[in-house]
Amino acid sequence: MINKSDFKKINDYLWEYPRRSGMKVPARIYASEKMLGEVFKDRSVEQLINTASLPGIINYSMAMPDIHEGYGFPIGGVAAMDSEKGVISPGGVGYDINCGMKLLKSELSEKEIFPHLDKLASKIQQEVPSGLGRGRQIKLNIDALDKILKGGAKELVEQGYGEKEDIENCESNGFIEQADPEVVSSHAKNRGRDQVGTLGSGNHFLEIQKVEQIFDEETAKKFGLFKNQVVVMIHTGSRGLGHQIATDYIQVMMRAMPKYNINLPDRELACVPFKSPEGQRYFTAMSAGANFAWANRQMIAHYIRRVWTEILGERSQLKVLYDVAHNIAKIEKHLVSNKKAEVIVHRKGATRAFPGQPVLIPGSMGTASYILVGTEKGKESWYSTCHGAGRMMSRHAAIRALSGQEIINQLKAKGILVKCYSMRGIAEEAPQAYKNIDEVVEVVHQAGLSQKVARFVPLAVIKGE
């Protein structure tokens, strides 16, 4: 059994598990000493060590403080692979390709919004379908869907569902150009046809929030943030389309691995060389899935903006602060042994944090969320940081601990409005089921991977089913 004593302390917020047999590189976890003690509760450390055995991995397999058990890679995992000799793995991206965050800023303060809050939240809930059967259903034809797979949020903006600034303030300008709809299966396309602009279920949410605290005045000003300002946070991904791409390509890779002499301790780590035909097909399909997710968040933003101006008038506009993925693999250039090199960065439950870039970190339902800013020091983690609170309690345990109504009452007591069709959905996402977001963010702040800019608290939580 692996335990804390197997880890070497690098500094107060970084711990290393030395390279052992089968590992190509050491494994590192960003955590406080207290949090490190908690990571052995599930199998995430074993998964992090397995990740260190993947061909072509550079420097370390890394985990952010919100690490928890995933499939293949742990959630909170970061790994960069050599683009010539390394592999690409759907297990390093996750089933929800480009699950991520988008933040819309208003110019209004909490006081100004308060009389309209209930109406705004109710109307947003009506206008943004969950995609599980309730609400508006728009089914795209395959040609229209292919355009979105190719052009992502950029395509939707060109069609009039947003502003030019929306894609300027979006990771990769809202699309990965290598995306190829041809390598996305008809199954995946059919699952996605009626899901553009849908929220999904589980931990996905919309929140109307206010800026509660500012840590870095200068950056907050640059980002257009001020105290008590009202913002809207969107958390969702590529829905069934992305899930199906992951399922399809895990199958493809499992069949192809013997050809490349790859043997792995866990089938969910299935991978192939990035430069192989299967690797290239997965990357271009995953990119199409990522584009779909950017388009999905763009369309949701469009629906929210429509509600916003309908209720608050044309003069009240929502501007995008940023949109960023936390489940993705990207081709990036980084310094490797002091030379610029092309690497494949897998971020699974980890957020890109380029220097100066806004980083959006959601808390669990009803707790705080953060805006951070990327730093130069972030290069040690391929400019990556945490992605959220990280689940600790099973959904059943959460339901047993507190009922949906009790949680609604608790949130109400804190002045937070909840709009959700399903009491069970609320109970499953109880704040108690997650790690403390303040502790998670403190670690990445202290470790220097990204710096705190502002802390937000919810005024209204809107969930799918």
């Binding site: 058990e69 929800d96 059967g133 279920s201 069934g240």
Partner: protein, 136 residues
């Protein structure tokens, strides 16, 4: 056990443990467990549906994952659930079957995918048992 499956706990997701006197029954019960996770609301008046599927995989574990993935796809895209299967062909690497069930109005839960995480198919006291984890 009466239902032929149990829904077990997992910190982030849902695990279904299914049982069967035969592999065919095991697959049927795993499908029923997956369906319960989705919390379907059946269309009233009930409307029946039938689908045919064919799956080929590298081994029995993969066959179960691929079979459930294919059924999940049909459930989600056609908005229907299946409560019976007629197997036309069943080996450890290939199956062909007819599914029958009912149309669904909506689902209370989304399943993203069927995973290989901790996937086990065992035979205990003459009973097949499988544990499958679903990403939700």
């Amino acid at each position: 056990m009466d239902k032929g499956y149990k829904i077990l706990e997992h910190p982030a997701d849902v695990r279904v443990q299914a049982f069967g006197k035969t592999k065919e029954e095991l697959f049927l019960n795993a499908m029923k467990g997956m369906t319960e996770v989705l919390q379907p609301k059946i269309q009233i008046p009930k409307s029946k549906c039938q689908r045919k599927i064919k799956v080929k995989s590298v081994d029995l574990n993969a066959l179960l994952v691929d079979f459930l993935s294919e059924v999940l796809y049909l459930i989600q895209t056609n908005k229907e659930i299946y409560n019976d299967i007629k197997f036309i062909k069943f080996t450890d690497t290939e199956l062909e079957s007819e599914l029958s069930g009912n149309k669904v109005e909506s689902f209370g839960e989304d399943i993203k995918a069927v995973t290989y995480h901790d996937l086990k198919i065992e035979q205990k006291n003459g009973l097949f048992e499988a544990t499958v984890l679903f990403d939700i």
